[in-house]
């Protein structure tokens, strides 16, 4: 509506917006040889994934190792983790906007861009998991038949797409204003940022409700699931952003990243402990109580009736998480010459939560099955290919987004 009232001396938005998009695209595809090599690698991996997915659609999902007993696998595991990663970006937004951390404010867009990339990956993982992706339109409100509000999956569709739109708006607006050389008007983005904080919590809560609302699956049927999801999201998100910022410090001319890195490290120091505490509390309840509820946990940690498929996964996750927690608790971790150690701690925490939420949470929900059969699951090559392809695509989106935002980040530092 402001378009029509734009003063004549300023270019109208209709003319400038396409130029802004073109400019951004150009900007995002400029770079060093290393950048082109990185993008080529990601493209190649993405193509491998796209091909594997096409084969899956053509031949049926028999190409995966999922079964009627373990009916969700690597895709939904990754989906769950990605929702967390998307929500994790909010751990930059909160210090920046609620605590007015000036330094964080300058780079908060990194968290928002991560949210965009992660949600795109979420949606791709959901589509990869569908037996009939050609019927995707059945899920569109208005066109298809949307089982709202009873089905938690419809809630998830709404909150995930809403979060995507929110972050697209916030980032798009800030970048566009900077392109026009104007000061962003807080009215147009601060309310959305505040909303996005609540929304970030909601996406992961609703995703937890997908699982914990199922009475027939005792392993998931715990009130602690949503808080646990959030705690681990606030480990994986900041960990990813810390690594991104360490890389940006090396590869770009963006300054002023040290303080945000320190802030996020302090956040992970707390969240990683809360996460471990909740895992411990859950395990106590399971094992001390015993009974039928404990069989999935037994299978996960020690194996059941000689079947031990998930045991290596879960102990790896515990090892990584505990080591990362110890490192984060050590104050010396923030020393500038120990950046490699900080990065390793983040990678460990990241991989640890990835296993914990995927192979360590989604899969044991199905083992033993509701009729107490033990059918094991290990992802097939096809599933790995599709997964890698989606990750590559997500990293592509993230890289391009960061590149587009680089001038903004540099400028922020100048004033």
């Amino acid at each position: 509506m402001t378009t029509s009232t734009a003063p004549a001396d300023k270019p109208s938005y209709i003319a400038s917006y396409p130029r802004f998009l073109a400019r951004s695209l150009w900007q995002a595809t400029e770079g060093s040889l290393g950048f082109y090599a990185w993008m080529t690698l990601l493209t190649a991996l993405f193509l491998v994934g796209a091909n594997a997915w096409a084969n899956q659609v053509a031949g049926g999902m028999i190409g995966t190792h999922m079964t009627d007993q373990v009916s969700w696998g690597l895709y939904i595991a990754n989906f769950t983790f990605m929702v967390g990663l998307a929500a994790g970006g909010v751990m930059m937004v909160i210090p920046a906007y609620l605590y007015h951390d000036r330094k964080m404010h300058d780079v908060v867009i990194i968290g928002e861009l991560l949210a965009i990339a992660a949600i795109v990956m979420c949606l791709m993982f959901v589509v990869a998991d569908l037996g009939r992706p050609d019927r995707f339109w059945h899920m569109m409100p208005g066109l298809g038949k949307f089982n709202f509000p009873i089905s938690m999956l419809t809630w998830d569709v709404i909150v995930l797409n809403g979060y995507l739109l929110l972050n697209l708006h916030i980032c798009g607006y800030l970048l566009y204003m900077r392109f026009l050389g104007r000061e962003p008007n807080p009215v147009w983005y601060v309310p959305f940022v505040m909303l996005s904080i609540v929304w970030a919590i909601s996406i992961h809560t609703v995703t937890a409700f997908l699982y914990c609302g199922l009475g027939g699956r005792p392993f998931w049927n715990t009130a602690l699931l949503a808080p646990r999801f959030l705690a681990s999201a606030f480990v994986s998100g900041p960990a990813f952003i810390i690594v991104t910022m360490v890389l940006m410090k090396k590869l770009t001319r963006v300054q002023g990243l040290d303080q945000p890195i320190a802030t996020l490290t302090k956040i992970v120091r707390v969240t990683i402990l809360i996460n471990l505490l909740m895992v411990a509390s859950e395990l106590f309840t399971e094992f001390y109580t015993g009974g039928a509820h404990v069989s999935a946990a037994k299978y996960l940690f020690f194996g059941l009736h000689g079947k031990t498929g998930l045991v290596p996964w879960t102990w790896t996750a515990i090892g990584l998480n505990v080591t990362a927690a110890c490192l984060f608790l050590w104050p010396g971790l923030l020393a500038p010459r120990l950046r490699w150690l900080l990065v390793s701690a983040c990678v460990m925490a990241f991989v640890g939560t990835w296993i914990e939420k995927g192979m360590g949470l989604i899969i044991p929900g199905f083992i033993p099955s509701t009729l107490h059969q033990i059918v094991e699951y290990a992802p097939s090559l096809l599933e790995w290919k599709v997964t890698v392809g989606i990750w590559a695509f997500g990293l592509m989106v993230f890289t391009i987004a960061i590149k587009t935002a680089l001038p903004t980040l540099r400028q922020a530092d100048q004033d």
């Binding site: 659609v57 009627d68 037996g131 050609d134 059945h138 089905s151 009475g215 027939g216 509701t370 009729l371």
Partner: protein, 316 residues
């Protein structure tokens, strides 16, 4: 690249950048085209899948929203497809619930001896995939002295019945509070007036949320296109039950609605040599099943979950 292109024209400082721009633009465009071509090649297997889906199927509306004419068209198309893909002449009915009917099932666990004839009958009656030996029924061999399913085995072998065991057949319980229906994001599965929970195989998107939600492992997914030899196809079919399912969708026991809604008994009951199975309309005060539920001590599986099964078990 070089800024000495116009040493004599310092008023044109931007020209080299523009030249640079167009060359880089050409390179980028080239790479983008290459990438797009590679992408098209990568997803080319989709063409095969697209050939198997007709435009009519793609656009088809939800079962409950089809007009009688549309329904007739859909059914004609499905019968045609069965001939094309399976070489079988089939008739697909559209059996609706009979007013005043609510079907329930009961099994006498004192009599069932685990022979598995019901499993087999279901396999044939419902046109299940031959290779995977699919069936809607699973029989659990349980040690006597416990009701804990965790002690049981669904993969028992050897002569039955064994002395220290009893046998617990499990199939869809046609729950009155079905969690599988609640979770479906697209209403592809619902409970009909006679209590049968059905799936529109042409509307299901294959998310398998219902499979995760069902506490009785009653749902099956079509991981691949089912294979049934032409001479083994059961030609008496119904849209919501035993017609051959498409790939990528979920299916389940329908109490053989293509039989029971036509006044016959479920195939598993007819196949049972021990007479352990009792089926009927609970709303009919004269029915066998009604007498049984009133006079036997019956129980239901996983009562604590509040799913309210329409499937009962009892001992003599």
């Amino acid at each position: 690249m070089t800024d000495t292109n116009h040493p004599s024209r310092p008023d044109l400082p931007t020209l080299p950048i523009i030249e640079n721009f167009s060359r880089r633009a050409a390179i980028k465009g080239g790479f983008a085209t290459l990438g797009a071509a590679a992408f098209v090649a990568a997803i080319s297997p989709l063409r095969h899948a697209a050939q198997n889906t007709s435009a009519g199927e793609f656009m088809q509306n939800h079962y409950t929203e089809l007009t009688p004419e549309q329904k007739a068209d859909v059914i004609a198309r499905l019968e045609e497809e069965a001939k094309e893909k399976y070489g079988a002449e089939v008739t697909i009915g559209d059996d609706r619930p009979i007013p005043g009917t609510k079907f329930v099932y009961a099994i006498n666990l004192s009599v069932c001896n685990g022979n598995g004839k019901c499993v087999e009958a279901c396999h044939k009656e419902n046109n299940h995939d031959r290779a995977t030996n699919q069936s809607y029924i699973r029989v659990i061999e349980m040690p006597k002295g416990t009701m804990d399913m965790e002690q049981g085995s669904t993969t028992y072998t050897g002569a039955v019945p064994k002395d220290d065991k009893f046998y617990l057949p499990v199939q869809c319980q046609q729950c009155d509070e079905p969690p599988c229906v609640d979770v479906c994001p697209v209403k592809a599965t619902w409970k009909e007036d006679d209590g049968i929970v059905v799936v529109d195989y042409n509307w299901c998107i294959g998310c398998r949320y219902c499979e995760a939600a069902c506490p009785y492992h009653a749902r099956r997914f079509n991981w691949k296109q089912p294979e049934v030899p032409a001479e083994e196809v059961n030609p008496d079919q119904s849209y919501l039950s035993n017609r051959i399912r498409p790939v990528g969708v979920v299916e389940k026991c329908t109490y053989c609605l293509h039989r029971t809604r036509r006044g016959k008994l479920p195939a598993c009951l007819e196949a049972c040599p021990t007479g352990a199975r009792v089926f009927g309309n609970i709303l009919d005060p004269e029915s066998n099943i009604r007498w049984l539920l009133e006079n036997k001590r019956v129980y239901i599986l996983k009562e604590e979950l509040g799913t309210k099964p329409a499937f009962f078990y009892y001992f003599d």
